[in-house]
Structures are given as C-alpha cells and as structure tokens.
C-alpha cells in the first residue's frame, strides 16, 4: 500500500500567512511555536520540533490512542490536531504530568502495577486515564473500560492498566 496520503488540506504549500507563530500553554509553560504549516499535526511538532517524544505515532487516523494528549484537560489525538488548532489552548503531554523521579499519581500507579510491556501505547493509556479520573474520581471497572476503549494495546497489558486506573482512584483492584 502507498504511504498514508495526507489530507488535501494538509498538503497545501506554506502560504505567507503561515509564516507565523502560535502561543499556547504547553505543560503549564507559556510557549511560542514557529509555525511553518498550520495544518501540520501537533504530534509532529511535539515530537520533532519540541523534543517531546512521549506521544507516539501509531496510526495517524485517531484509531489507536498512542498519541493521546490533553487539550484544555480533554483527551485529544495529537495526530488529528492541526497545530493551528491549539493556539491559546492549554496542552498537556505525558512529559507535563511527571518524571521518572517524580511521577504523577496516575503514572505512579501504572509503575506500581508494571502496566507496560513494549510500552508503546503506555503514554496514551496514562493520558486517557488522567482525563477519566479528572472527570470521574472513582470510576467503576466498566467506566474505566469505556474511557480506555479508544486506546489499543497489542501486548495484552489491559488487565494491568485497569488495575493501575483502579489503584490511582483508590478503589479495589480487579
């Protein structure tokens, strides 16, 4: 199969108007980003321009959740978000949650449950879980399953991930 053909809108050559910058809050820091193509997905900007490689390219179609980030605290797919769409928004990536030395409580729960194998989907899982727990602090197992239904995992780490979500919520684990 040919490589993914980008949508028509995205293949437009940079226009003079696109030689601009956008401002946003990135992981709590006011950030100005030089924009060469307003249609460039945020994922590429994060990974290649800003060195934030925690969000992963999985499908480029919003089907797998490996690139999940938060925009104004709502989970979003960075592969489906043109950079222009995050102007003046609050964007949170996995790097904005915590670090190896000081993990966010949800990250700490994932680590405690060893909820990763290859780990390629893991950061997206964490981001979706953070969004869920902000909305529903004590989700049921079914609510957790529903909230993560847009995140795929091929290694089969699901049970650990669900346990991590329950652990982070302070509920009994499955």
């Amino acid at each position: 199969m040919p490589a993914t053909p980008p949508s028509k809108a995205r293949t437009k050559a940079p226009s003079p108007a696109s030689q601009r910058t956008i401002s946003l809050s990135l992981n709590g820091t006011a950030t100005v980003i030089a924009v060469t193509d307003p249609n460039q997905p945020l994922l590429y900007v994060l990974r290649n321009q800003l060195g934030l490689t925690g969000a992963k390219f999985g499908c480029g179609k919003g089907q797998c959740g490996a690139c999940t980030i938060l925009i104004d605290n709502e989970p979003a797919r960075a592969c489906q978000t043109p950079i222009a769409a995050v102007a003046d928004k609050r964007v949170t990536t996995i790097e904005g949650l915590g670090s190896v030395k000081a993990p966010h409580p949800v990250q700490a729960a994932f680590i405690a449950e060893q909820a990763a194998q290859c780990g390629y989907c893991a950061t997206g899982m964490v981001m979706s879980s953070v969004a869920l727990l902000a909305r529903i602090p004590k989700p049921s197992l079914d609510e957790a399953k529903r909230a993560l239904s847009g995140n795929l995992c091929r290694c089969g780490t699901h049970q650990r991930i669900l346990r991590a979500v329950m652990r982070a919520s302070g509920s009994a684990q499955p």
Binding site: A116, Y120, T123, Q159, L162
Partner: protein, 734 residues
C-alpha cells in the same frame, strides 16, 4: 581481548555508544565504559560480562527485551551468581559490535537459552573471583563467598575484596565453563523475586527512547512508497510533483521509490504529493481462496512426522466410532501498535543501523550484502521498538533506512505508516489440518491421524527476504521463513496409534515470517479442539477425558490446578444451562518445554453470535521461575493477544494487495472484551527455566472453542470466531 586498554579507549567507545541520544533515566546502572576491542566470543566470559573497578557490571546480551521482561530477568540470573544486586548491573542488548550472537530473540528462548548462557558466564566469573580472593588470603576456595558485591571469607574473619578490585578492566581472559557450579536454588536471594522491570518508569513517563525517538545530527526523514499491488514495477515517476515541498528529494532505485526531506512532516507531505505510475500486477489469490488453495498445491513434499501403532487399523475398525474434522487458521498480521521505524548511517565505507530487530546478528550479513560492504563494517544496534511478536516490519524499515542512507550520504530515519505496517509486514502463514480419531467401544481413543497443509520453510535461508533490496533489484537469497510451524500436531495423550503427516506447500499467500508461537497456536487449536470432540462423542467430561490419558505428573498438575481454580465440576458438554460454557485445553509446548493448561468461561449470545470471554485461568509450569511478576504479565499478554487473534483477526487481501490496513479493517481486541485473567505459576526451582513468552498462547483458541461448544453446542473449527461463524455452527434449537 587485548590485555591493555587505557581508560581513554574505554571512554571513547562508550562515547560512541551514547552519541545522539540520552539513555533513558533508569534505576539501574547504565554502561559507563565499554572496551573498544571487546570480544563477542560466546565461549569467553568476557563476551558476556565486564566487571568495572567500581564493582558495577555490564552484561552484553545477544537477546533483546521486546517488552517481555528479559531486561530484568537476565539481570536477576547474573546477579544471583555474582552475588550483587540487580541495580549494579547495566545491560547492552543486540549490538553486533558488542554482544555475542546468542541467536535471534525468537522461540521463547530469551531466558531458556540466552539467560542460561549468561548465567553460566556469571557462574564462571564467580568461581574466578572466589579463586582470586582465596589466593590472596591463602584460604581454600570453599572458604570464600561473594555477598553484596564483596568476596569475603565465609568465617567473617579476614579481608574482603570488592569484585571490581579483583579483575581489571582487561577482563577475565577466561573460557566460559559449562560445568561451573550454580548457586543452589535454596539459597536464591534475587532469582524468583518479583523485581520491577527497569524500563517501566521511563516508558510510563514518556522518557524511554524507542528507535522511533532516536535522532542523529543532520538526519533526513524518509518515506518509502510501496507499490499499489504486490510485484508491480515502477514505470514512471514525476519528480517535479514533490516540488511544493522545499528540500524534498525523490530517491529511486529501480522499483524502490522513496522521498527524503529535512523534516518528518515534509517527508509525509512529499510522499503524499509524489506522482508515480506502476505496472499492473495482480499476483495474489485473495484471502477467501486461501483455504481451498492449500489443498490444491503446488506441493514440494510430504513428511511423516509421527508414526506409532496401527493407525489405519484403528480407523478402519468396524467397531470403532470414527470422527473426522478440519481446522483452519488464517493469515494474520503481527499488528504492532507502532508502525516500524529505523535509523541508518552509511559513510566512510561502514554502516550503522539502529533497529528494533529481533535478530541483529542474523540480519547483519543481509545488510552488508545489500550495501555492498564487508560484514565487519556493518553494525546493527538494537533499540526498543513497538512490540513485534515475531518479525514485523522492523527489519524492512531498517533496510529502507540503510538504502536511503547510502543513496543520500546522510543519516536517514524511516518511519512506516499504519498502512505500510498492516499492509506489508510479513505475515503469519495460514494452516489447515484434517483430523481423524477412532473411539473404541469403551470410549478409549484407539487411533489418531493428523494431516497438515503448511507452507514449507526454505532450508538454510538465513532471514526473511527484505522488501527494500527486492524492489531495488539487489540480489538476496529468496524463500520462505515460517518458524517451526509443524510442532504439536499430535495429541499429548497416551493414544496407542498416532500418525501425523504434513503436505508441504511451495508458497504462502503473502510473504510469511514467524509470528508468536509459530504454528503451535493453530496446531493446538486443532488437536485440543478435536480431542474435545472425541470426549463429547464418548460422553466424557473433557477434564477427565484428558487426565485418564496423561502419564506426566507435570501435565496432570497443570490441568488439575487450572480446573480447580475454575471450580470445575465433572459433567459432559454441552452445558445443560445454555449461554454459559467452560472449556479446557492443554499443551506441552513443543512436547519438550513449558506445560500449560488453560480453563476458560465464556458467554455466547445465540441471537447475535457474539462470544464474550468472561474468565481465564492459566496454570503454567516453565520450570524455574526467574521473575514471577514479569512472567505473569507475559502470560496475560499471550492470552489476551491470542484471544484477539482467535476472535477477530484475518488479513484481508484481494488480487493486488492487503486491504485490511487500518484498525477498522484489522480490528484487535479492546478493553470492552478483556476477561478476568488469573495466572497460576507452578514454580519448579530445581528444574531448568523454560520459555514464558509463547506457550501460554497455544491452548487459548481450543479452550475458547471448547467453552463455546459447552455454552451453545456450536463447534468452531475456523478462526476467527466471527458472530456469523458462531451462528452458522449453532445446532437447531431443541
């Protein structure tokens, strides 16, 4: 290894290793220095480990951690023998310059072979350290032990030496002693503990460096444009079509077509804009034709794999009840979450390729031949990729990157698209099995015949032929790689007459490669599904039917434990209470390795045909357990992934190419359908450690099929178990 290496030499090579990326922050040590002229000889202790002056240790491991937990398990095995904590051990994996060739990371051999080899190197090192310390103190060697990284007199009296004080950076210069004594299991302090995996914190916090995240200065981004149909040739390229993307270049090597650009987004845009004409090509049979084609051939041979007793006599016995059934497993994709990626640099007559390959040593000659370089000028360095479960697209992406790096003279990163990965990863081959079984008048199984139709792996072929050299017209050995797909085709029970034959097909419908537990998933599906059919025909409980024909205590233990955890009450299938069913299946992996029994409970909706797995219990005996938590996770993963393959997965393709190229057309199991899974480890501290990555996958389809039959009377013999297949197999309502 040269005896005298200066600190500067060591650090210089260490610097090469670390250039261009930061190693992930980790609780464990990272290599501080690596000898430049380090041996990779598998008969040398120095091939596998180095003890540094500060008492830290670097392990050089030919096997790689693909997410399965070797990174902690092998540390534990070495730490135990060396008498140090795992936090003192750094580990380098799959680097053709630095790590011995321990064979590819396939076949569930990481711990069983790779770890055992490193453990033996560590045991040899331990003997040497004890000897050195004993000599210095004039003590007999048996009066000295290593505890917490110090070689101490057992009496507690006298001097202690740090392990780093006894051996200089020049190493041991010592042959690995295959008979060096191992620490007795009763004394284990590290092995058997559920230690956390060192890479998890960085993976969870987004700091882990995957090959997808690796960059080099001046690196270009490449995208390869695969043809619209398999085998199509490139007739024309309009290079001007990428001009709107500043700096984008078209690279063409015969039918190998790619774009490179300075940024990834520019490469994506250029690939989308590029106009190319390809020849018409329609060489494929289409997925719907695969099953019939397997019986039609062409064939390249037929082998009898098992032949005991008078099978023909048993099957022709007029008093016997004879059952016959066919089982089919479709073409499947590895379906990795991340499309494959690699980075390559070719300059000054040498090449370095950063790759998520499971087999860096194995592929090294292929890359050398493709690039026209001597093998010793080509270095493949493993970096984590997205989990692969067999050879996915990683090695092809590495070949793409290497060809583009050679063509451009610059480092090139190639990232495949989702369509590339599902469309072009080499596929798990299809399998067809016909089974016959004879039941004597007392319900005993008196004879069994399995006939298989399988693509034949090409003898001596070193690796799966790669897409890049093939399209570029660069010669490479051609043929098929499948993994060992003909194992476990015979029942693991005391049946007096058994015959297993295989009809070898000349080709596979799509380029094949090994996929998790090669062949054994389908073969165990057939054997354990059909055995259940025989139990049903005899009116026997399917646990009892198995137990009465087992003579191996480890098998009996696994089956009875799984059944007990499922609160199994003996009765024949199907369940008198319809809609809910339980099934059980068992494997002795490859008839020589891990023992697994899986019991499963499912719900089946007769109207929709939907199967819902509710509970899975797995009793698992792989000998000595190195890390119970990492092992449990591997087993959970094997079960979930195989449920996905059994319920949902079949690669769709037409005459031209694969058509199931995204997650909508090639769905995998999601959270909604994840059952409760209980893993029951049967630790055998005094037995050798066996594989944990594959065996548990193999009984899953049969346990599921047997549970579905129990729930509704539908006998499923074709994967995936789609709702339509369930409805078609339902017996008419009573």
């Amino acid at each position: 290894m040269t005896a005298a290496l200066s600190r500067r030499d060591l650090l210089r090579t260490g610097g090469v290793l670390l250039v261009g990326f930061a190693l992930p922050a980790s609780a464990l040590a990272t290599p501080s220095s690596v000898p430049r002229a380090k041996t990779v000889d598998t008969t040398e202790v120095d091939g596998f480990l180095a003890i540094h002056q500060d008492g830290s240790v670097t392990i050089f491991c030919g096997k790689v951690d693909l997410g399965q937990g070797l990174r902690i398990a092998i540390r534990q095995m070495a730490a135990e023998e060396l008498g140090i904590g795992v936090e003192r051990i750094a580990m380098i994996e799959g680097d053709t310059l630095l790590t011995p060739d321990q064979g590819p990371t396939v076949g569930s051999t990481g711990v069983m072979k790779g770890g055992v080899q490193i453990r033996q190197a560590a045991a040899t090192a331990r003997q040497a350290l004890i000897r050195l310390a004993a000599e210095r103190q004039d003590l007999p060697a048996d009066q000295v032990d290593i505890v917490d990284g110090e070689v101490r007199p057992r009496s507690g009296e006298g001097r202690s030496f740090g392990i780093g004080d006894l051996v200089g950076e020049a190493g041991f210069n010592l042959k690995l002693d295959p008979k060096a004594p191992l620490r007795p299991p009763a004394s284990y302090r590290v092995v058997g503990k559920p230690l956390p995996r060192p890479d998890v914190p960085a993976k969870i916090t987004g700091r882990h460096v995957y090959v997808h995240d690796f960059t080099l200065p001046g690196m270009l981004h490449g995208r390869v444009i695969r043809p619209p149909s398999v085998g199509a040739t490139l007739t024309s390229v309009d290079e001007a079509s990428v001009r709107p993307v500043k700096g984008a270049r078209v690279i063409r090597l015969r039918d190998f077509l790619a774009v490179v650009a300075e940024t990834e987004w520019d490469a994506v845009r250029a690939a989308g804009l590029l106009k190319a004409q390809w020849s018409d090509s329609a060489p494929l049979m289409g997925h719907a034709a695969v099953r019939d084609a397997m019986k039609a051939g062409p064939f390249v041979g037929r082998d009898t794999l098992v032949n005991t007793g008078d099978v023909a006599g048993a099957l022709e016995d007029s008093d016997a009840k004879v059952l016959r059934a066919e089982y089919f497993w479709p073409v499947q994709s590895h379906a990795s979450m991340g499309p494959s990626c690699a980075v390559a640099e070719v300059k000054g007559g040498s090449a370095t390729i950063w790759t998520a390959s499971q087999a860096t040593h194995r592929f090294r000659p292929a890359f050398a031949a493709m690039l026209g370089l001597p093998v010793d000028r080509v270095r493949l360095i493993y970096l984590d990729g997205s989990g692969c479960y067999g050879m996915n697209g990683h090695d092809d992406a590495a070949a793409d990157a290497a060809l583009l790096a050679k063509a451009t003279g610059k480092p090139v990163r190639v990232q495949w698209s989702r369509e590339d990965e599902l469309g072009w990863d080499p596929k798990g081959p299809p399998q067809l099995l016909a089974l016959e079984g004879a039941l004597g008048s007392d319900g005993q199984v008196t004879g069994w015949r399995t006939e298989m139709w399988l693509p034949k792996a090409t003898a001596g072929l070193p690796n799966v032929p790669l897409l890049a050299p093939q399209s570029a017209g660069i010669g490479q050995p051609m043929g098929l790689i499948t993994g060992l797909i003909n194992q476990n085709g015979d029942p693991p029970y005391a049946v007096p007459a058994v015959e297993v034959t295989v009809n070898w097909l000349a080709d596979a419908p799509l380029r094949p490669s090994n996929i998790r537990a090669p062949g054994k998933i389908a073969n165990t599906f057939a054997v354990e599904g059909f055995f259940d059919e025989l139990c049903v025909a005899s009116g026997l409980d399917s646990l009892f039917g198995r137990l009465r024909l087992l003579r191996d205590i480890r098998a009996i233990k696994a089956l009875t434990r799984a059944a007990a955890l499922m609160s199994w009450r003996p009765r024949p299938a199907p369940n008198p209470i319809p809609g809910i069913g339980r099934g059980i299946a068992y494997v002795h992996y490859k008839h020589s390795e891990t023992y697994v029994a899986i019991a499963m409970e499912v719900a089946v909706d007769r109207d929709s045909g939907k199967i819902t797995p509710r509970r899975v219990v797995c009793s698992h005996d792989c000998g000595l357990v190195i890390n119970p938590d990492a092992l449990k996770l591997q087993i959970e993963g094997a079960i979930i992934q195989t449920l996905s393959r059994t319920l949902l997965e079949e690669v769709a393709f037409d005459a031209k190419a694969v058509t199931s190229t995204d997650w909508a057309s090639y769905p995998i199991l999601g959270f909604a359908d994840i059952p409760e899974i209980m893993v029951d480890l049967i630790d055998q501290p005094d037995l050798p450690p066996l594989g944990g990555g594959e065996a548990a996958a193999t009984p899953v389809p049969a346990a599921l099929a047997n549970a579905v039959f129990d729930a509704c009377g539908a006998r499923l013999r074709t994967a995936p178990f789609t709702p339509d297949r369930v409805k078609a197999a339902l017996p008419p309502p009573a």
